[in-house]
Amino acid sequence: MTGAEFGGVDIDLLADYIGGALEGTPDESAVATLIADDPAWREAYEQLSGGIEVVRAELASFGPVEMPDDVAARVDAMFAPVPQLTVVRGEAPDGVREKKRNRRMRWATPIAIAAGFIAFVGFGADYLIGRGSDDSAADTASSAGGSAENSTALDAGIITKTTGTDYTRATLAQEPVEPMNAPKSSLGVDQSEPQRSMASGSALSRLLDPAALDDCLAAIQQEQGGSITVRSVDYARFDGAPALIVRFSGSAGSWAWAVGPLCGTPAGDADTITQVPVG
């Protein structure tokens, strides 16, 4: 049976009739008349009805499909409760915060760079989309127990991280957090190293320079359109390649951008790899 056998018959109309889509319309009786009076329509009706029954029976026999374990794990992780206590390690490099304050640009709140190193352990959508993130940060700051450097960095300003995390588009919106009982080497990174050490030898080393970083953030702001408030930058990777992960909010909501090592060069070019909305 092929469509070519039904010359002169409107197959879509006949299909609508067979499928009940013409019920209660004038076309229903018109098609019924054609089937009764026209041999071509009658033959098409009989053959198509039989074929459709076979198709419906086959479709109904499709077996159940379960979400694969890896996808289910990702989905579970997205909506897992957020750890409330996190650890921020390290200290800010000397003078960096002061330089950043002096270079404060209009998108940024008072800038302070923490040497906070927040390792990935688990994700939570509440954290990712902003709900509870402030609470988490506040809890972190208070529970860290007396590090003014860390508290300031988490309370306001740009948080600088060098997690080395290899993000994908699926995980870009998710910000690594580390509960207090997380194993020290959960990222496979020597956390005792100064935060810059990971990036300094990589393609991202150019962006360690505050001026270059400012140019990069300015380029992101320009591409995004409108003023933005940068929350954090993470010297990391995206799909295996060195990438700076910039999290910010603006008039278009909260975003996570992955930009390449050439971000800001030439001026206004963010070397954008990808961008995802957050929250």
């Binding site: 018959v9 197959i11 299909a15 609508d16 013409l22 074929g51 086959e58 990702r74 909506f79």
Partner: protein
């Protein structure tokens, strides 16, 4: 097939879980997702066809549902609402794929609209017919495929599928009817090609169907059913 009936009386209903989530219960949405994820996954996989794209679509959709839960008015079942978000995410991805076509693989088994063969293996009985049906389903336009997946494969009532796709009941009936007819015709054609030992594929199957405005005989009334309710 509207909600977690099995759990009712023992566990909170879907609507109660969603309300709890909106009120700040951090466990509630995850529980809701666990309850329905297999069915949402089946719809996504069979609509979009590609495993990774289906995974991305489901994640995007669930994040959207998580964020916008407060906007749920309760005028549809929670599962209907979740399915609508997932199917829309899939159709959006298909449309983007069509707008930005990828380079076809050398074996030509990936087009920008059709699934790429992720359906589980068919039962041993009449294996050939089952494979041909899967092929024909994959070749359908995305809107017809989504309607057929919901109604004929997943077994949702037409009215509920219409809510999920946010279209009129008549539109769902028409999409299903025309999709089934295309599949029936393609099935015959694919069988014919196999019998003739012709090269595989179904790229031209639907082009031989004399239907729509170009048919030899104009339809009575000639109206498009797709906007009927």
């Amino acid at each position: 097939m509207t909600s977690g009936d099995a759990e009712q009386g023992v566990a909170p209903s879907d609507a109660e879980l969603l309300r709890a989530h909106v009120e700040g219960d951090k466990q509630a949405f995850g529980e809701l997702v666990r309850r329905h994820r297999d069915r949402l996954w089946a719809v996504a996989l069979r609509t979009i066809g590609d495993r990774e794209e289906a995974a991305d679509a489901v994640q995007d959709a669930l994040l959207s549902a998580h964020r916008n839960a407060a906007r749920f008015r309760g005028d549809a079942a929670v599962t209907t609402w979740l399915h609508r978000i997932v199917v829309n995410a899939c159709l959006d991805r298909i449309r983007k794929r069509q707008a930005h076509p990828t380079v076809p693989l050398p074996d030509g088994n990936r087009s920008d609209d059709r699934p790429s063969g992720v359906e589980p293996a068919a039962p041993a009985t009449d294996h050939e017919t089952a494979l041909l049906v899967r092929q024909a389903l994959a070749d359908l336009p995305a809107d017809q495929r989504a309607a057929i997946v919901l109604v004929d494969v997943q077994g949702y009532p037409v009215a509920e599928a219409a809510e999920m796709l946010d279209v009129a009941v008549g539109t769902i009936k028409s999409r299903c009817a025309r999709g089934r007819a295309r599949m029936a015709l393609a099935l015959g054609e694919l069988r014919g090609r196999d019998a003739d030992h012709a090269p595989g594929g179904n790229q031209d199957a639907t082009q031989t169907v004399p239907s729509g405005p170009g048919a030899v005989q104009p339809p009575p009334g000639g109206r498009d059913r797709r906007d009927q309710r």
